[in-house]
């Protein structure tokens, strides 16, 4: 069952995320707001020119917006993706992040998806000296939030990377179930 991380940008006058919309010139297309009562919704993941985005995730991997389902952990860049042999949060070490420290140009921010939410601060204690040593800004989040954060930061055109581990526990709602069913089978077919 895949949990969805669809990112909607509602460009109506009340729900406008101004900073985000102005930062991205492509989203400020004329006609986003036509007239009184008329609004347009841009779905970030459907805009292919913004690069790779994460559409959903499950215990086994991630679904990207180019119909590719990645199995296992991954390191995702705005336009490329690499497999990452890390299965849990304890394996995120200096060695396993080695590629990201020697990249030129330097990353603006590294989004780390730790899988399930962290119970204590031990991971942060481990990552802060590393962050100071290589001068890399980190955003440590549970994978669910990290996916959305990556999508937004990537759409803003930043030089970022997302190091994401699939979570072990998922909370799935009815909409997720429906979407998964719609993707894999005909809902109205009798078995």
């Amino acid at each position: 069952m895949l949990r969805h991380t669809l990112n909607l940008i509602n460009t109506s006058k009340t729900h406008l995320n101004k900073r985000l919309v102005h930062a991205n010139k492509r989203l400020c297309s004329p006609g986003a707001y036509d007239a009184e009562g008329k609004t347009t919704v841009n779905i970030l993941n459907n805009e292919t020119e913004l690069g790779l985005m994460i559409n959903g995730f499950s215990q086994v991997g991630f679904r990207l917006n180019n119909d590719l389902t990645v199995l296992g952990s991954m390191v995702i860049f705005p336009r490329s993706v690499l497999s990452w042999s890390v299965t849990n949060c304890d394996e995120i070490t200096e060695e396993s992040l080695s590629l990201l420290t020697i990249l030129e140009p330097k990353l603006d921010i590294l989004v780390v998806g730790t899988g399930d939410p962290q119970q204590d601060l031990s991971f942060y204690r481990k990552i802060i000296p590393f962050s100071r040593k290589y001068r890399i800004a980190f955003e440590v989040l549970p994978t669910e939030q990290a996916c959305a954060t990556f999508n937004f930061l990537s759409s803003e055109g930043r030089n970022i990377a997302g190091a994401l581990i699939p979570p072990q526990t998922l909370t799935v709602d009815q909409d997720d179930e429906l979407q998964t069913k719609l993707r894999y089978q005909n809902l109205y077919e009798r078995e």
Binding site: V70, L82, E104
Partner: protein, 219 residues
Amino acid sequence: MYDGCFELNSSQKSRKMGKILSLMGRPLRNFNVESRAHKIISQEKPVPAPKHKSDQLIYDEIMKNHPEGSDETQIKHVQLDKYLKDVYVKSHDPNPPQKAQTNPDRPLPLNRHQVEDYEYGFKEPDKIPIGKTTLRQALQFITDHHNDSKLHTPQKIAQDYQIPEESIKNILKYYRVFEVYIPEQRKVKAKFAGPSVPRIKVTAQPKKQLSSGKDKDDT
């Protein structure tokens, strides 16, 4: 508020009426317009337009008080005319505009086309410091190592890309390119990409076989 609204309506109405009237009057106004215009243009000296009433009064008064003034203006003043002809103005600019010096190493851009998106979403550097790598290079050597790990050993990659061997070993250990799996059982739009696994290639080599001499004997 209601009055204002009404006023707006009435003014709109009058504007509309004015347009209709002007449309009706136009053929009358334009009657014989071309020949009238030719008549005026073909005059040798244009007739000056009549003065305004107040101007005419002042003019008449001046003419009455100084009748000699009007004669003076009609006569050409030879001396002043000569002065005017003798004057010749020469000008020079002490500070001519300096043309900006162009640096041949950093020429100004001439291309005005829209900048295309970069392949990896960011500008790749021209010079890469020793011990660093670009994403393009990293993807290249990870793929190379996966395709032929005997040729592209960590030592060789470290030498080629000027990166410490230790970090190359770590990168090759933790980062892989993908292999695409397409499910066979049912039709799914998705492609599944898993980490590539190094495989041993098995190639069948034809073995030399001894031909049995049985056939020969029979014939």
